[in-house]
């Protein structure tokens, strides 16, 4: 955005020169900042990848470059012979996080619309209850939940993993969406309704496209939160419904007491990269289409 206005401002050639230098400076500052951020975010990840590719016999070697490179750790991570079912766990996590995100977004959009747009009594209470759900120590929820789900024979089922996940991401979803919806130009929706749209149509056709960046960000956050959920999954999943976090936590060394660092790092690499790629593809294909020009 800085480029277009800076040039627009400039009236004379001299001013143009100054402006150009300013733009150069601004953009090189942007690049420097970007590089610093990228390095900060990726350096520990780099070390994780180095470890993931390192021979297990050199687990503790602190050489900061790729040495003793091997694919063995990845083989270990996927080795069903050693009881590591990372492939199945990836599918489970994908399914569970996907459903969680979809349902949480749907419910969240409903609730946020009501909270941001409608007048009704007890709004503060609803917001309080929703927020309250993020206040109880997660570790204390597990035991009673386990008993509840055992009573209704749900342990090990997908719904037993999905429903708690939805409740964990809902508070954030509702709050983010509410705060964004409140900023929406709702007069447009009114206008659309006067044009003959139903309330649902007006919302879908006018408001949703505008809210896309917010909804998408919320979706990423919800998806990753669900993807990373461990506590509930570790207690309520079984072999068939195990998620990646549980699968990784169950890795073991070839000997008792031996920590399977290298295999854990390999698995960490395997589950992180597709996630990031997935998010980027989504971002490109869907959001770019919906919000073209919004940030330029």
């Amino acid at each position: 955005m800085s480029t277009s206005t800076a040039t627009g401002d400039a009236r004379t050639a001299a001013a143009k020169g100054v402006a150009r230098r300013r733009v150069m400076w601004a953009s090189s500052r942007t690049y420097i900042s970007a590089i610093v951020i990228v390095v900060w975010c990726l350096l520990p990840f780099y070390w994780m990848v180095v470890t993931a590719f390192r021979d297990v016999g050199y687990t503790f070697d602190p050489t900061p470059f790729f040495t003793h490179v091997t694919w063995d750790n990845f083989a270990t991570a996927f080795s069903s012979e050693m009881g590591n079912h990372l492939d199945r766990a990836l599918l489970n996590s994908l399914f569970i996080s996907g459903v969680t995100t979809a349902v949480a977004l749907l419910f969240g959009v409903f609730a946020a619309y009501a909270l941001a747009r409608l007048n009704f009594r007890g709004k503060f209470m609803v917001l309080g209850v929703v927020l309250g759900a993020s206040m109880f120590p997660g570790v204390a929820i597990v035991t009673p939940l386990f008993q509840l789900f055992t009573n209704i024979n749900w342990t090990g089922t997908y719904q037993a993993l999905i429903i708690p996940n939805i409740s964990f991401v809902l508070p954030l979803t509702v709050y983010t969406l509410t705060s964004f919806f409140r900023e929406m130009p709702w007069e447009l929706e009114e206008a659309a309704r006067i044009d003959g749209c139903t309330a649902g149509e007006a919302f879908r056709k006018v408001i949703m496209p505008l809210a896309a960046p917010a909804v998408f960000t919320t979706a990423i956050l919800a998806f990753i939160a669900a993807w990373n959920e461990y506590l509930i999954a570790s207690i309520l999943s079984n072999d068939a419904t195990q998620t990646v976090t549980v699968a990784i936590a169950s890795f073991a060394g070839s000997q008792p007491h031996q920590e399977p660092y290298t295999a854990v790092m390999a698995a960490g690499t395997v589950v992180t990269i597709p996630l990031v790629v997935l998010v980027l593809i989504f971002q490109r294909k869907i959001v770019a289409g919906l919000t073209a020009g919004a940030v330029k």
Binding site: G57, R121, F146, A249, S250, F251, A252, P256
Partner: protein, 430 residues
């Protein structure tokens, strides 16, 4: 207005009411009380049929082949394997949750040696007596002690583990027999510019293991026969004092305060440590690890003691039968099968898991494959189990926190033991 409100929150109210009702019948107290549990202990003793065996991660594929063998021989009493995480705390919590929920599918469980008393006192484990009696003949006595609570056997020893001393035989020709002797040899380490001794001194369960060894070796005791703490004694003072003095004068390097098993192994394999207290698993790795610089220059010995071998703490696992199991007769047979000499040998050869049967330690074929067995036998024969108490989780916290403070120097040894005794005493007076 009021009507609208009530309509809107009607579903909520209904759910809240349902929640109350459920929590009322779900046994809000959490731990299955002793009362109804003892009723279960008499039930299903003749039950036969399929059962589930629960164990932490099967590191080196030992359990599955054994189960295949059992299942082939018992088509009507098949055993299903439920594999838990590799983390002991998580295994513990998973068992607790399932016992609390009276899960009939957790028939037989592999429990860490320190959990027997807790699970037994909660009424979750079937006493292995009368109809359920299983043979402990030939098992090393210390291992049987870990499975015994109030004079009754609740869990059957399955695998064992004991501490042994790794030393650099290129620098120390004969290993030290006593703690003093070992401290005397630390000058050798100093001359070579390496560290002298390390065990597991980070604040976690490993510290309890090491402190218990130090105290027991000097004749001290943490909890007496009556379940009351006896740790504030002269012997215990010497034991903990040995560690604290060694830490202060540098014989134990300062970074050892961050060591769990793996960090100590790393240091030893890198040739930076003269003596290391660790479990037998280090043996194979130090011989084969690419980064190991001590492949041919290390030896093993029993832990140094007061005037002979030291008193190792015991690791390993026992097997217990859930009182909620429907097929206890099958479970009992399965226990016998898993602790038979053939199965025990398979544990050792396939998974480097130490047997609980004393004879196997002298088996020439096994010793050839696992050269540390004779040393380990001495270790386990002189071992003292960590305190057998239903309050173990609180007791180990008391030991860890106070001894760690003593090592750091923020507390004197006297103060640490006084606090330890007081903390254990509040823990066990519930």
């Amino acid at each position: 207005m009021v009507r609208k409100m009530s309509k809107m929150y009607l579903p909520l109210a209904a759910i809240a009411a349902a929640a109350m009702a459920l929590s009322a019948c779900g046994g809000g107290s959490g731990g299955g009380g002793g009362g109804d549990a003892s009723g279960d202990a008499g039930a299903n003793l003749d039950g036969r049929g399929p059962i589930t065996y629960v164990q932490g991660k099967d590191n080196s594929n030992v359990v599955r082949p054994l189960l295949d063998k059992w299942n082939a021989a018992h088509p009507d009493e098949k055993v299903t394997f439920k594999e838990q995480s590799d983390n002991a705390d998580q295994q513990h919590d998973d068992l607790v949750k399932n016992f609390q929920a009276k899960n009939v599918d957790y028939d037989v469980a592999s429990v860490d040696v320190i959990w027997t008393a807790e699970f037994a006192a909660r009424g979750w484990l079937q006493p292995l007596k009368d109809k359920m009696a299983v043979s402990t003949e030939g098992m090393l006595p210390a291992t049987v002690k870990t499975g015994t609570y109030n004079e009754v056997l609740y869990t059957l020893p399955q695998t064992s583990d004991g501490g042994i001393l790794y030393y650099r035989k290129d620098l120390v020709p004969t290993p030290p027999k006593t703690w003093e002797e070992m401290m005397g040899m630390c000058s050798i380490a100093k001359d070579k510019g390496i560290d002298c001794y390390a065990g597991q001194f980070a604040q976690y369960e490993g510290l309890t293991v090491n402190v218990a060894e130090a105290i027991n070796t000097q004749g001290g005791e943490i909890i007496g026969k009556d379940g009351k703490p006896t740790v504030n004694s002269a012997d215990a003072k010497v034991g903990l004092g040995n560690l604290v003095t060694a830490y202060k004068n540098g014989n134990i390097p300062k970074q050892a305060l961050t060591y769990q098993e793996e960090q100590g192994r790393q240091s030893f394999e890198a040739g930076k440590l003269l003596f290391l207290r660790n479990w037998p698993y280090v043996y194979n790795l130090a011989k084969t690890d690419g980064s190991s610089t001590v492949k041919d220059t290390f030896g093993i010995a029993p832990l140094p003691g007061k005037d002979g071998p030291g008193a190792s703490s015991l690791g390993g696992h026992n097997m217990g039968v859930s009182v909620y199991s429907k097929n206890k007769a099958t479970a009992k047979d399965f226990l016998a099968f898993m602790t038979s000499p053939e199965s025990q040998k398979f544990y050792a050869t396939q998974g480097s898991l130490a047997p609980v049967l004393g004879d196997l330690y002298d088996d020439a074929e096994l010793v050839k494959q696992l050269p540390y067995l004779p040393v380990l036998k001495t270790s386990i024969e002189n071992a003292v189990p960590r305190p057998v108490t239903p309050f173990y989780p609180a007791v180990t916290q008391a030991i860890q926190q106070n001894s760690f403070a003593a090592l750091q120097g923020s507390k004197t040894v006297d103060q640490a033991l006084t606090d330890m005794e007081a903390a254990i005493s509040t823990a066990v007076s519930k």
